[in-house]
Every structure is written in structure tokens, then in C-alpha cells.
């Protein structure tokens, strides 16, 4: 019975995957325990400098997610914790967690850093991949969540020798607690999600490339830290041995990947090619001197969305050299500290070259702890020790109720991990849908005091932060100064303004002194604004009647040597905050009801998967298909690479969707009109041959309109019957096996309609398709000669096994260069395929019975839909996600999600994962009874509007429009609150609430008044 299930979920692993799964679940009405092994969440992504293919700063894009996770009332972050056992069954598990002591009281620690400063023990810093040192008392990184220090007992002098305890003596908050012991915690949950990630492969295990011999041979993760502004060299690109700027850097690919000879890592790690492209570009940008970069590779596998363009840019615009080769050895170079790379090039010649530094592009490896975890909880692993999942159910482990996401399931990059995290959340949500909102917490607040029309009565609370602020800034002086400012009726100093007892005090002062505005002068809005806003809300004040002065992070911490100057700056900052506070107004948030129905465009695998999951999560679905039949592109695919039967799966899926009471299917239906905002959309459709009109009201929309196979214009396709596409070949292999038996020689050409000027990106699936069909042909007739003409074979992840298998079966893989495409001619009825084979170093002509073209995937007719939905497209007309890394299934329009090949070319299992992710996003929206809108949003004063359309042009979200009254109108439910329109508006008709001109000008006046 659904009612008996437990509405909570354990997520193991606090990396980006675990964080995303936790946020999705908490938003969807489940209580989440986020169990993290280390002292803070953030995982591997927190160690990265930049992310591909946009070279965004990793920490910049991640830290809002960290904060969101840390603040969420329904996410309990358990750090230093590991799952030991899981008993019970799907819906009702008992999870045993072991939590190590932190030796610092989480409730008391104020993150001042005194313990670190006083701690005498320096140890290698694992966050900096061992390239820098940290103290035994430390914090993993400055943006860590929870922002609490810890003492590493393995390195602490007190634990080693029984003496020291300097941290304890100096901690201003009394937070150090050496009496803490290991705890066993039992959690009752309905589902478990495994998101424990990977460890970088350790090249010291099999030291082919001199990693242990030279400090200038580093792993890619170490290099990531070297590039980072928070890394060992503060972002200066220098090499470890002598801290000199390198002139030449080499990357060696596939270290700990694609290798069955000296390791058991037969899989492709999938990410290393693209991160090497990124690192080689970023290094060039970072370098103070002219830097030469070269990447030694086997195949360049930039198969992700827009990755090929990224690769092209690095090579053609940035001058990164790519050397197809096998590296034999890395030896000492001619100059001190340099390294000599000896390699065999693509034409089989032995060559060598010296470099100042070598980066090993290490693969994604499974940590021992993860393998043990799987064993302890009864989850099966595959032969590479990644979690075994079914092709058509890519996030379900072999134990029901336990799901997996991220690299633990298989090598993948950040967006794929984030997608899978949402997919796992969707599966857990559908399992537990009856228990939604049974264990979540919601905070109740007293009725708000009406302050409109009242004179401002401001209370100022100045924080000592132990000695953090008070050690530099003269806090009593600042407090006295504050008390004399206009409208200030109360000013006081606190040892820790954020402590629990001060929150009680603030509420008392609000009552006693009838305060209607509150100013806190302390650390940073980034970490503490929401806490104080919450406090004043508990005292009946609107949370927007709060203003903060940052006198720690931006003052006492950076002006330690100038106490007088710091005190003066603190006074200025407090004055600005007070002046601003006097002008603040309460803001209300409106509630709009949510229509609990999803509309899905596209009845292929993506659309049907999403429809089923959403219906199982308890919501209605209208599934719209343009064709007469459901099934989409999958109708043409028979087998997966591993041999699973696609048609059987599709048949079952159609059956389930058709007989689901919550799903209504509209076939031969076309979108006619679309309007509304998230939670409240209205769509008109023309349905059936009669084109009758149908209106659907819905809260969420999923675009799953798919893509299509490229129809080749090249290589005699359509002119000679022996020239076919891979899809056409597959059809013959299934239906007319005997025909294929007669073939003796088959040639395949890769990258037809992909990776060229017209369509620069890689279609991702064609290499696997070619390998799959080649193996099938070999199985039909082992004596077949099969030639695959390729530029790079891109069988990423575990698909590499099949590439190896095809080679073992005797399939010939023949390399041709870009711009030296094969020539195909018909000579006396036969097909002649001529090309220059690089490995053989000569021109070759093949006369095959059949020529199979690996035609790529191109976008469907997406332009009209994109315009209607205001969901932008990429330059090759696939739908563009809101953020390539962290919002991979959201579009820029809230409430509209994308999945499947409408987003980019992908495999069926990847499509299913993405469809589940889109369902998760849609359901966390549909699970809410209402949307809260308002707060910091823009508002138009129609009397001042000149209808000049400056706002219409400037808004990055296309929100303002000229309404029927001829003036601009902004829908607050769509407004993101950036304020661009307000600043662009010449007649000042637009106000951005909470950042109004008079509030900003008051701050400036406050600062400059003395002049």
C-alpha cells in the first residue's frame, strides 16, 4: 500500500549528482538525508577550475547549488558519514549510517578560521590534490557547505601525542570538542540513491609515464588545481619542480582508460578528451608567456553537445596541437626538469619531443569504498565495478528501491550526472508518490506587522564575530556611531550575532523598541542574510525590511593591518546599510494555483517515458504526437549495442502508455497556440485529420519532439541501391538476414553529415551503430570483409568493449583525415571507395558489395516551436538548455523542459534518463499547490511608460511586452529580478523592488555625505 511507504530518501554522496537529487526530492515533497563521506558537500566539481565546453568557472556556477542545498529545510546533510547497511525493502528501508566525529560542534562553529590559524600541524591538502598543505584543523575549501571547520584526527598532534589543544584554547566560540565519538545513526527511508562518484585513476599504480619520477608529470586533477585561483599557486600557471612558467605542456590521453594490457580499465572514461581540450585552452589563456600545448591521443572523443565545436576552436583558433599517437615512454628531457615524450605517430614512425610539463589525462576510477558499499547493501556491479543497470532502466540498480546516478553508474560528465540525478529522483518519487509531503517540514510565521506609513525605526546589531571583526574593527566605536545615525532607535554589539541566543535577543528588541527595520553588521549576505531575514520574520516583520553591512569578509579580513581604516570603513558600510534600510518597503509574494497536469510534445521513447513517470507520480498527462503512431525514431532501431530488443521494449511501453488512465494521448496533433507561465500554461492544439481544436490547461510542458536521421547527399546515396544508411542496414539485418548472408565485403563510412562545415557537431551514436552492425554482419558471416572508414572512433564508456570485440572479430578500422574524405564512384555497376589510409600510408580502393553510410542525426523542424515557446535553439537547431552544466533539462522559460534527441543526439538509454529527469523537474513543479511569485521583481508605472520598447529589447528572458493599453507590462511570475530593464528605462517607469533607485541613491549618499 502506497500509504505505508516512508516519505524520505537517503542520498549517498554529496557531489553535484547527490546535491541535484536531494534538491529535486526535497522540492517534490520528500525529506532527504544527504550522506557525505567528507566534511562538506561539493565533491569533485568543487575541485575543478573551469568546466567545458563554455569554460565557465566551476565554483561560480556550483556555489549557488551548495547554498540552496544547505539552506533547504528538508535536506539534512550528514557529513563525515557513510552507509554501512540497508535492510528492509523498497518503500521501507532502514539505513545504518556511521558518522565520524568532527571534533568541532556544528552549532557553535562560526567559521572564523582561528583553529586553522593556531593549528601547528601542516599536512598535504587533498582538496589541492596534495600540491599544497593545509592544517590539521581546517575547512575543505572557502565556499564549503556546511561552512564549519573540522579537526583531522589522523594528523592532529593532540591525537598523536596527547598534547596541544591550541585550537580549543583559542576558539572564540568554544566549538572545539575533543570528546566527540563515532556515531551510529539509523535512518528510516523509502528509497536510496547512490551518487558516490569516482576517484581519479592513480597513475602511480602502473607508472608508465614517469608520474612518480618527476614532479612535472601531474594528473589532470592536479593540473586543474594548478590552474585554479584557489589552488597551490593562486592561479599562476607554473610547474611544480621549480615554479617556473612552462613553455610547452603535453597531455597524454587514456591514462587508466581503454587499457586492458597493463590495467583492467577497458572502458573509455568519456570525459578526458574534452577536459584536455579545455585545459589546453585555459592554460594558453592563463599563461603569462607564450605557451605551446599538445595533446597525444588515440581518438578524440568530443561527442557531447557542442563539444566538437569546442575542440575545433582549440585547434583552429587557439593553436592547440593534436597528435594521434601511442606514447611509449616519458623520459627526462634535455633541459633540467623537462620531459621527453617518445611516441609512435599515426603513420607508424617513432618520434620524440621535449616538454616543460606533462599532464596525464587520468580516467574515472571506482573507489574501493564504493565497491564495498555496493557489496554491503546488495547492489550488483558490472565487470568494471560500476553499478549494473538495465539498458531501458538506466538508474535502477538490481535491488528494488535503490537507484544510482552519476559516475557510479558509468563514466559521464557533469550535465549527464545532473540529468541522471534528477532521473533517480524521479524514480524514487514515483515509488514513494503516496508518501509525498508526509515527512517534510514547513515553517509557520506570525502575521505580519503593517509598517506602511510608519516612520522608520531602525535597530542595528554589530557583530564582534569573536575576534574576527572585533580584533580589527573597533566595534564599540562603530556601534556608538550607528546609534547616532538618523532613524536608528537601537544599536547594540553582540559577540556572535548569528548565535541562537542573539536571534532570540533580536526578536525581543523588535518588540521592545517597536523596530520596523533591522540592520546587521557582520559577515556576509551570502551565508547569513537568509538567517536574519528569517529571524525578523519570526518577530512579525516583513523579511525585506532587513539590510546588512559586510564588515567581516569585505573589511576586517582584508584590512587587518589598518585597524583605523577598517573601523572607518565599517562605519561607512553601516551608514550605507542604515540609509538603505530607511528606504526599504515590505514586499509581498502572491500565490498562484498550479494546474496539476503536464503536457508532453512528442510520443517517442522520451515523451512516453516522461508520461509514464509523471502519471506514476500521481499527475495527469496529455501526450501529443504529430504522427499517427507512437514510437518515434525508436521504431527504426531493432537492437542495442548489447543486444537488447528495442522493438519489444517499445511495444510494452506503448501498451503501458495507452492503458494508463492518467495519460491522454492525442495523435496527429499540432501545436497552434501557447501562452501562460509556469504552473499555469494554456495550449491550443489542432487534432486529427479533421483538425478539431483542443485547449489544454497545464502546469508544466515537456518538449520531446526528437530529431531525424540525416539524409545523405553524398557518396551516391539514392543513386545506387548498394549504398544505404546504418538504419536501413539494421532493418535488413533483422528482416532479411538471408540477403546479408550473400555479402562478402562491406564498407562503412563514418561522420556522414556530421563533423563537417554544414553540421560541425558529432552525432554521438553513429560509431556505436557502425560497431553494432559490423558485429552483427560478422555473426551472420564470419568471412565477411568489413571496412570501417573513420576519423575517430567514439565508443565512449562501456561501448569501448564492443569496439574491441569488433576488432577481435576482424573488422578493419581504417583511418582517413578530415578534408580527405573517401571518394565514391560507380565503375561498371560496382562501387569503388578510394581514400588515403593514414596507417598504411598509401591510397587504397575498396570495391565493396555494400556501402553503408553512418548518417548523423540532425534536428527536426524546431524553429516554429521554439518561437512559440520562447525556448531558444542552438545554432544547429536543437533546443538549448538553461545552463549546459547544471540545468540540462530546463529551458530558459520556467516550466518548460526538454529531453531526448530534441536536446541533442543521444542513445536510447540516455534518452530515457533525460526523460525521467524532465519528469522530475515537471513533478517538483506539479507537486506544489501554488507558485509563489513576486518579491524582487520589476514593476512598470504605466503613467510614465513611453512604450519605447527598451525593456522589451533588454530583458534576457523576453518578459516585458507592450500590452493592449499601449504600455509595457511585466508578468511578475516570469520576472527573474535582475533589474536590467529598470536601468535601461529612460523615463524611469520601471522599478526593481528592493533595489529601487531611491534605495541605491540613499546608500551612495550615505557614503559620500561627509565630503
Amino acid at each position: 500500500m502506497a500509504k505505508d511507504k516512508t516519505g524520505a530518501v537517503v542520498v549517498a554522496g554529496g557531489g553535484i549528482g547527490g546535491i541535484q537529487a536531494a534538491i529535486d526530492l526535497a522540492e517534490s515533497g520528500f525529506y532527504v538525508y544527504l550522506v557525505e563521506k567528507s566534511s562538506s558537500i561539493g565533491g569533485r566539481m568543487s575541485q575543478l577550475d573551469k568546466t567545458f565546453p563554455t569554460n565557465d568557472c566551476s565554483m561560480c556556477i556550483m556555489s549557488p547549488k551548495l547554498v540552496e542545498c544547505g539552506k533547504n529545510l528538508n535536506i539534512d546533510i550528514l557529513t563525515l558519514s557513510e552507509i554501512k547497511a540497508v535492510s528492509g525493502e523498497a518503500g521501507n528501508f532502514e539505513v545504518l549510517v556511521n558518522q565520524k566525529p568532527r571534533y568541532i560542534d556544528l552549532d557553535k562553529c562560526i567559521a572564523c578560521g582561528t583553529c586553522t590559524e593556531k593549528c601547528p600541524t601542516k599536512v598535504p591538502d587533498d582538496y589541492n590534490a596534495g600540491l599544497a598543505t593545509r592544517k590539521a584543523a581546517h575547512i575543505r575549501y572557502p565556499q564549503a557547505v556546511p561552512l564549519k571547520y573540522l579537526i583531522d584526527p589522523d594528523r592532529c598532534i593532540y591525537f598523536e601525542k596527547g598534547k596541544c589543544r591550541l585550537c580549543e584554547r583559542f576558539c572564540p566560540a568554544g566549538a572545539v570538542d575533543f570528546t566527540q565519538t563515532e556515531k551510529q545513526i539509523t535512518l528510516n527511508v523509502g528509497a536510496v540513491i547512490l551518487a558516490t562518484g569516482f576517484q581519479p585513476y592513480d597513475p602511480a599504480l602502473n607508472d608508465t609515464y614517469g608520474y612518480k619520477k618527476s614532479p612535472n608529470v601531474v594528473t589532470s586533477l592536479e593540473f586543474e588545481r594548478i590552474l585554479s585561483a584557489t589552488g597551490p599557486y593562486q592561479g599562476h600557471l607554473v610547474r611544480p619542480s621549480d615554479q617556473k612558467e612552462p613553455r610547452k605542456i603535453a597531455w597524454i590521453q587514456c591514462v587508466g582508460s581503454r587499457n586492458v594490457h597493463s590495467s583492467d580499465k577497458g572502458y573509455c572514461s568519456g570525459v578526458c578528451c574534452t577536459y584536455a581540450v579545455k585545459q589546453s585552452m585555459v592554460a594558453k589563456e592563463h599563461s603569462a608567456v607564450k605557451l605551446d600545448t599538445a595533446v597525444f591521443y588515440i581518438d578524440i572523443r568530443t561527442y557531447g553537445k557542442d563539444f566538437e565545436k569546442f575542440f575545433n576552436r582549440s585547434r583552429d583558433e587557439m593553436g592547440v596541437r593534436y597528435i594521434k599517437s601511442r606514447v611509449n615512454a616519458v623520459l627526462p628531457g634535455d633541459e633540467e626538469g623537462d620531459l621527453k615524450i617518445r611516441y609512435v605517430d599515426e603513420e607508424g614512425r617513432l618520434a620524440q619531443e621535449d616538454f616543460s610539463m606533462v599532464v596525464l589525462s587520468v580516467g574515472l576510477d571506482m573507489p574501493k569504498e564504493s565497491i564495498e558499499l555496493a557489496k554491503n547493501i546488495g547492489v550488483e556491479l558490472n565487470h568494471y565495478h560500476f553499478v549494473e543497470t538495465g539498458y531501458f532502466d538506466p538508474v535502477a540498480t538490481t535491488r528494488p528501491g535503490i537507484y544510482v546516478c552519476g559516475v557510479f553508474q558509468g563514466p559521464k560528465d557533469i550535465p549527464e550526472t545532473v540529468t541522471q540525478a534528477s532521473a533517480a529522483a524521479a524514480k524514487a518519487s514515483s515509488l514513494l508518490s503516496g508518501a509525498r509531503f508526509t515527512l517534510t517540514k514547513e515553517k509557520e510565521y506570525p502575521e505580519e506587522i503593517d509598517v506602511i506609513g510608519q516612520e522608520p525605526r531602525i535597530g542595528v546589531f554589530v557583530c564582534h564575530c569573536g575576534t574576527n571583526i572585533a580584533g580589527v574593527v573597533n566595534v564599540p566605536d562603530v556601534t556608538k556611531y550607528a546609534s547616532l545615525l538618523p532613524n536608528v532607535v537601537w544599536a547594540e554589539e553582540n559577540l556572535f550575532t548569528c548565535s541562537q541566543d542573539t536571534q532570540v535577543k533580536i526578536k525581543e528588541r523588535i518588540k521592545e523598541h517597536k523596530l520596523n527595520r533591522v540592520v546587521v553588521a557582520s559577515c556576509s549576505t551570502r551565508t547569513h542574510e537568509s538567517l536574519f531575514q528569517d529571524t525578523i520574520r519570526e518577530a512579525g516583520l516583513n523579511p525585506y525590511l532587513f539590510s546588512m553591512a559586510n564588515i567581516r569578509d569585505q573589511d576586517s579580513w582584508v584590512h587587518q593591518s589598518d585597524k583605523e581604516g577598517a573601523t572607518r570603513k565599517a562605519k561607512d558600510l553601516v551608514k550605507m546599510a542604515v540609509y538603505r534600510a530607511a528606504k526599504l518597503s515590505p514586499l509581498s509574494r502572491q500565490r498562484l494555483p498550479v494546474i496539476k497536469r503536464a503536457l508532453i510534445l512528442g510520443g517517442g521513447v522520451a515523451g512516453m517515458t516522461a508520461a509514464l513517470n509523471i502519471s506514476r507520480q500521481g499527475f495527469d498527462v496529455v501526450l501529443v504526437e504529430a504522427e499517427k503512431e507512437l514510437g518515434g525514431m525508436a521504431r527504426k532501431i531493432h537492437r542495442t549495442l548489447a543486444g537488447d530488443d528495442v522493438q519489444k521494449y517499445l511495444e510494452n511501453l506503448i501498451e503501458e502508455v495507452t492503458h494508463n488512465d492518467r495519460i491522454q494521448i492525442l495523435k496527429e496533433a499540432l501545436l497552434a497556440d501557447f501562452s501562460g507561465t509556469k504552473g499555469n500554461f494554456k495550449t491550443s492544439l489542432n487534432v486529427g485529420p479533421a483538425m478539431y481544436q483542443r485547449e489544454v490547461a497545464h502546469g508544466a510542458l515537456i518538449v520531446a519532439t526528437g530529431a531525424r536521421e540525416y539524409k545523405p547527399k553524398e557518396y551516391l546515396y539514392g543513386q545506387n541501391d548498394s549504398v544505404k544508411t546504418q538504419v536501413e542496414l539494421e532493418d535488413i539485418l533483422l528482416k532479411e538476414r538471408d540477403v546479408a548472408k550473400g555479402w562478402r565485403s562491406i564498407a562503412m563510412i563514418q561522420c556522414v553529415g556530421s563533423r563537417n562545415a554544414e553540421n560541425p557537431n558529432c552525432s554521438r551514436v553513429c560509431c556505436q551503430q557502425a560497431v553494432k552492425n559490423a558485429i552483427a554482419l560478422k555473426e551472420i558471416n564470419p568471412n565477411n570483409n568489413i571496412y570501417i572508414l573513420y576519423r575517430d572512433i567514439r565508443t565512449y564508456g562501456f561501448a569501448e568493449d564492443y569496439y574491441r570485440k569488433a576488432r577481435e572479430l576482424g573488422v578493419h578500422f581504417m583511418l582517413f583525415r578530415e578534408h580527405e574524405e573517401p571518394r565514391v564512384e560507380e565503375v561498371d555497376g560496382s562501387i569503388h571507395v578510394s581514400f588515403r589510409d593514414i596507417t598504411l600510408g598509401r591510397d587504397v580502393t575498396i570495391i565493396p558489395d555494400q556501402l553503408i553510410l553512418s548518417a548523423g542525426i540532425v534536428a527536426g523542424d524546431t524553429e516554429k516551436l521554439s518561437n512559440m515557446l520562447k525556448a531558444p535553439l542552438t545554432s544547429d537547431r536543437f533546443f538549448l538548455e538553461a545552463h549546459v552544466k547544471l540545468r540540462p533539462v530546463d529551458t530558459q522559460t520556467d516550466g518548460i523542459f526538454i529531453c531526448g534527441t530534441a536536446h541533442s543526439p543521444k542513445r536510447i538509454d540516455e534518452t530515457i534518463g533525460q526523460a525521467l529527469a524532465a519528469s522530475s523537474k515537471a513533478c517538483s513543479l506539479l507537486a506544489k499547490n501554488y507558485m509563489e511569485v513576486g518579491g524582487v521583481v520589476a514593476k512598470v508605472n504605466p503613467d510614465r511608460c513611453a512604450a519605447c520598447q527598451a525593456c522589451v529589447r533588454a530583458c534576457p528572458y523576453e518578459v516585458p511586452f507592450i500590452n493592449e493599453k499601449g504600455v509595457s507590462e511585466i508578468d511578475i511570475s516570469k520576472c527573474h529580478g535582475c533589474g536590467i530593464c529598470a536601468a535601461e528605462c529612460l523615463p524611469k517607469a520601471i522599478t526593481l523592488y528592493h533595489f529601487e533607485d531611491n534605495q541605491i541613491l540613499a546608500q551612495i549618499d550615505g557614503l559620500l555625505e561627509v565630503i
Binding site: T54, C57, M59, C60, T230, V936, C978, G979, I1000
Partner: protein
């Protein structure tokens, strides 16, 4: 401010009018704006305001815009030093000199940071 996209010409001009010797605006790296294009809008407005400043006899070089990654503290402090040095070299703004004549006050140079 939520975004440098909110920075208005009048905010910048207010600072100079009240006697600031220099003002600089710090936004996200170009292409990495949280609101997609806010920092590019700000860049245009800063450029425009510089022109106005030049036109009215206040050196447009007293106003600058910088793009710094949120995690790049060292660059932030470097920019602060750069701007400080530059403004010190330029000396007090003509408006401040005038205001001081009127009010008879004397104060150290102040930079307004808008982030």
C-alpha cells in the same frame, strides 16, 4: 545589487555628483552573467557614462568596469589597488574640490564599489 545590469547611469552620476573621485563597477566575467547579459548592458552604460564625464570635464577614466570571477579574490584586490593608484594619480575630482570649497571639509579619497 542583484546584477551589474541594474547599475544605472544615474547611480554612477550620483556618486560623482556627491564628490566621489573614482567609481568602479565589478561584474561577472563576460559570458558568465547569472542573468545572461546584465554585465554586457552594464558595460555599455559605463562606457556611455564615461563619455558624459569627459564631456563635462570630469575625466572619464575615473569610472571603470571590471569583470572578475566570484572565486578570484586575488584579482579583486589587484583591481582595487590598480583603481586606487589610478585615482590617486588623477587627484581629487573637480566636483569634490568645489564641494570642499563650499562646505570647507577635507576628506580622504573614497572609492565607491558597486558589486
Amino acid at each position: 545589487m542583484p546584477c551589474t545590469g541594474r547599475v544605472d547611469v544615474i547611480h554612477l552620476m550620483e556618486a560623482f555628483q556627491k564628490g566621489a573621485d573614482g567609481v568602479y563597477v565589478v561584474g561577472c566575467l563576460e559570458g558568465e552573467c547569472h542573468y545572461s547579459t546584465g554585465n554586457l548592458r552594464a558595460k555599455k552604460r559605463v562606457q556611455y557614462t564615461k563619455e558624459i564625464l569627459d564631456m563635462i570635464g570630469i575625466d572619464g577614466g575615473r569610472l571603470e568596469m571590471y569583470n572578475i570571477a566570484a572565486s578570484d579574490g586575488p584579482r579583486f584586490s589587484q583591481v582595487a589597488r590598480e583603481m586606487d593608484e589610478k585615482i590617486r594619480a588623477l587627484g581629487p575630482s573637480p566636483i569634490r574640490t568645489m564641494l570642499q570649497k563650499i562646505h570647507g571639509t577635507d576628506n580622504v579619497a573614497v572609492n565607491v564599489e558597486i558589486t
